[in-house]
Amino acid sequence: MSKTMKAIYLYTRYERSWHWLQLALISLLMVTGLEVHGAYALLGFERAVKIHNLVGITWLISFAFFVFWVLTTGEWKQYIPTTKKLFSVARYYAYGIFLGEPHPVPARKESKHNPLQRLTYLGVAAILLPAQMLSGFIYWSYNSWDAWGLNFLSLGIVAMVHTALAFALLSFVIIHVYMTTTGHTVFDHIKAMITGWENVEETIAIEEWEKGK
């Protein structure tokens, strides 16, 4: 087992800023959203609604920049799902990690997501987040439903979809945060998302299927 470590520049400046901005936005949305949902009283309902609306719209706009970035830089290829080695990655997190086995698909510049990440991030970035933004936007525009011909919608259903997706997102965040501790050291992944530089094992070659032509 090779232990030669090599630092690679994995996340660009935009990517890192976007990640932490999104962290801030989603945290604010989660805290205020659950208050609007009536889970607790923290900022006060009125302030929670105002912040939630403002942050929600901010998220929607900044997400458009992210989509632009993903498409124009070709980074979208990092999100192409695959089943290859998916199960060995799953097996690693369920079993091998306890035995100190090496990661079956460590991150590389050309392929920063392992198959499990590809699948998860594709689901989150392409389905969960847009669906949450869309349901939130529709919820927010309740008073325009008449004018927009959306009267067939029910506020209750829209609100419940939005709430359900929020719970899904909350569960994702819990696991996502934990997974950051599974790097070479506990804070390795987080450090990488701050500095851009990740420590990876040097020896393993990038396989052809991972390159995504």
Partner: protein
């Protein structure tokens, strides 16, 4: 290079802060609703071309009320024609065909019925001399002196009969002087009846009582003497002596337009002056105005200065102490019991009940059959539902009580009450007072009297509080004690949720948390064990 993302983040945060602070600065600007209302109130000062003290018609000796009216009508020639049709005179609903109105078969759960105006005590509030028997009393609404005309003319006649000329002269000049004190109706004029309906101050309406004669702005922003200082007629505009604002079978106004859109629009609704988008541009309250009436948020409680009556139980009337009628008072110094009327409950700072309301109120009459097995029987109720596009959520005072009904005919009873005609207040005899009361109405009476619990509604529209005292969002948008808890059939953020969804949602999040904790413990212990090995 490694610090740059942090700079970027600070830049983002600064931009967000700027955005939020400009948004809140915009809210502190004067909102359109107040700007427009102020505009419509600029020329509120009344002016006229008449000095009544210079009229010969008023420079004479008056010996009876109708003499004064005759003098008024000698110049104001069309008044009689106008006023005789006014509901203030007829006490009959213009659309009820004689059925509805105080003088018809309309009833309530206060003094129940005027017995077609045979209950003379009720007629104190009729706008006529000698109750209703001696023509219109113009001074009831237009007189600005506090003179008790009835007493004054009685004294005059007495002294004339006994020949005490000096006193006669004094009273005559007194009357003459006070006749000249006339003007547009002031709060006290309207309030003489409308603050005292139901037999006492604050009995009927929760938002109309004597505290509105000289109110502070904190009680009523419009009428407050330190506020806009409105008289009643500022909003209750008048045409041919017909006064705007009656809300029973028909709404006070069905037009939801403002003076901004039509300078001849009625001035009776909030929107007349404040428009239907009165709050800061783009603010959430503006999104509510289509389904929530202004009053709902802006009248947080009614009866804020004087207590109002909430309960009247006729069934306990008639008790005696030492063979005599008696009465007791409560903490508000209002009667909690009267032998002639029964038990009362009074409340201050009352939280209204909220209903969908399209501006109309439906009410039962003495002719309607009731179902006493379903109590309380609603004697009047707001018309409207969420499906009614014209209905909005509106605050109400609901007066409840118990009152007599005919156990065989299942109709309400209309006992004759007044002392003058030997009614219940003199005899404490239910059978006799109901028999005679129903006879006057021309309605059957089986002789079997029971008591039934009833409710009666009043829309709450006066006592608009300063805006800092308006309801906040959370008073309705909360799970456990929403003011709108009783209004169901629609989803309200903060109030409503799906228990199943919440249970599963929190369940999944907790399962994720438990999963990672186990995983983490596994990593810690197994790795530690490996190192030991």
């Amino acid at each position: 290079m490694q610090n740059k993302p942090i700079y970027l983040f600070i830049l983002f945060a600064a931009a967000a802060f700027l955005f939020i602070s400009t948004a809140s600065a915009r809210e502190n600007e004067q909102v359109t609703g107040i700007k427009f209302a102020d505009q419509s109130n600029i020329n509120a000062e009344h002016w006229n071309t008449v000095d009544h003290s210079k009229f010969d018609a008023l420079k004479k000796k008056f010996t009876a009320g109708h003499d004064i009216t005759k003098a008024c009508l000698s110049c104001h020639t069309e008044v009689k024609k106008q006023f005789m049709h006014a509901i203030h005179w007829t006490w009959l609903s213009p659309t009820g065909g004689g059925l509805t109105g105080k003088a018809g078969y309309s009833i309530n759960n206060f003094c129940i019925s005027t017995n077609k105006m045979h209950d003379t005590e009720c007629n104190n509030c009729h706008i006529g001399w000698d109750k209703k028997n001696d023509g219109i009393n113009c001074l009831k609404c237009h007189g600005q002196s506090q003179m008790d005309w009835h007493q004054e003319f009685k004294d005059l006649k007495e002294f004339q009969d006994t020949g005490e000329t000096e006193l006669v002269d004094e009273i005559e000049s007194d009357i003459q002087k006070n006749v000249l004190k006339i003007g547009l109706p002031q709060r006290r004029n309207c309030g003489e009846c409308h603050f005292n309906g139901g037999g006492g101050e604050g009995v009927k309406h929760g938002d109309l009582d004597a505290s509105l004669i000289m109110p502070k702005k904190s009680l009523d922003v419009h009428m407050g003497i330190d506020g806009a200082n409105f008289t009643c007629t500022r909003c209750h505009t008048t045409k041919n002596h017909l006064i705007a604002g009656r809300v029973y079978s028909t709404p006070a106004t069905s037009a939801r337009i403002s003076l901004v859109q039509d300078d001849l629009a009625p001035k009776i609704s909030c929107e007349s002056c404040h428009t239907d988008q009165p709050h800061a541009q783009g603010s959430k309250p503006n999104d509510h105005t289509d389904r929530v009436a202004c009053q709902t948020c802006h009248i947080p409680t009614f009866a804020r200065a004087h207590a109002t009556q909430m309960w009247w139980d006729w069934s306990s009337a008639g008790k005696l102490k030492k063979q005599r009628k008696y009465q007791q008072k409560d903490e508000y110094h209002r009667y909690s019991y009267k032998s002639i009327k029964g038990d009362f409950k009074w409340e201050k700072n009352v939280v209204p009940e909220y209903y969908w309301y399209n501006g109309s109120i439906k009410a039962l009459t003495a002719k309607d059959i009731i179902d006493p097995s379903k109590q309380p029987v609603a004697m009047s109720w707001p018309v409207g539902s969420r499906d009614d596009k014209n209905a909005r959520i509106f605050p109400f005072k609901v007066h409840r009580g118990k009152q007599p009904y005919d156990m065989e005919n299942n109709t309400f009873l209309t006992p004759l009450l007044c002392i003058e005609n030997n009614g219940y207040w003199k005899t404490l005899d239910w059978i006799d007072s109901c028999k005679r009361g129903m006879q006057i109405m021309g309605l059957p009476f089986s002789g079997k009297i029971g008591f039934v619990e009833t409710s009666y509604v009043f829309p709450t529209t006066h006592m608009v509080a300063p805006r800092e005292n308006a309801l906040t969002c959370v008073q309705c948008h909360n799970r456990t004690h929403s003011r709108l808890a009783a209004l169901t059939g629609f989803y309200m953020p903060g109030r409503d949720r799906s228990d199943l969804l919440d249970f599963s949602g929190w369940g999944i999040a907790l399962a994720a948390l438990a999963g990672i904790l186990l995983h983490m413990l596994g990593r810690i212990f197994i790795t530690a064990k490996k190192e030991e090995d």
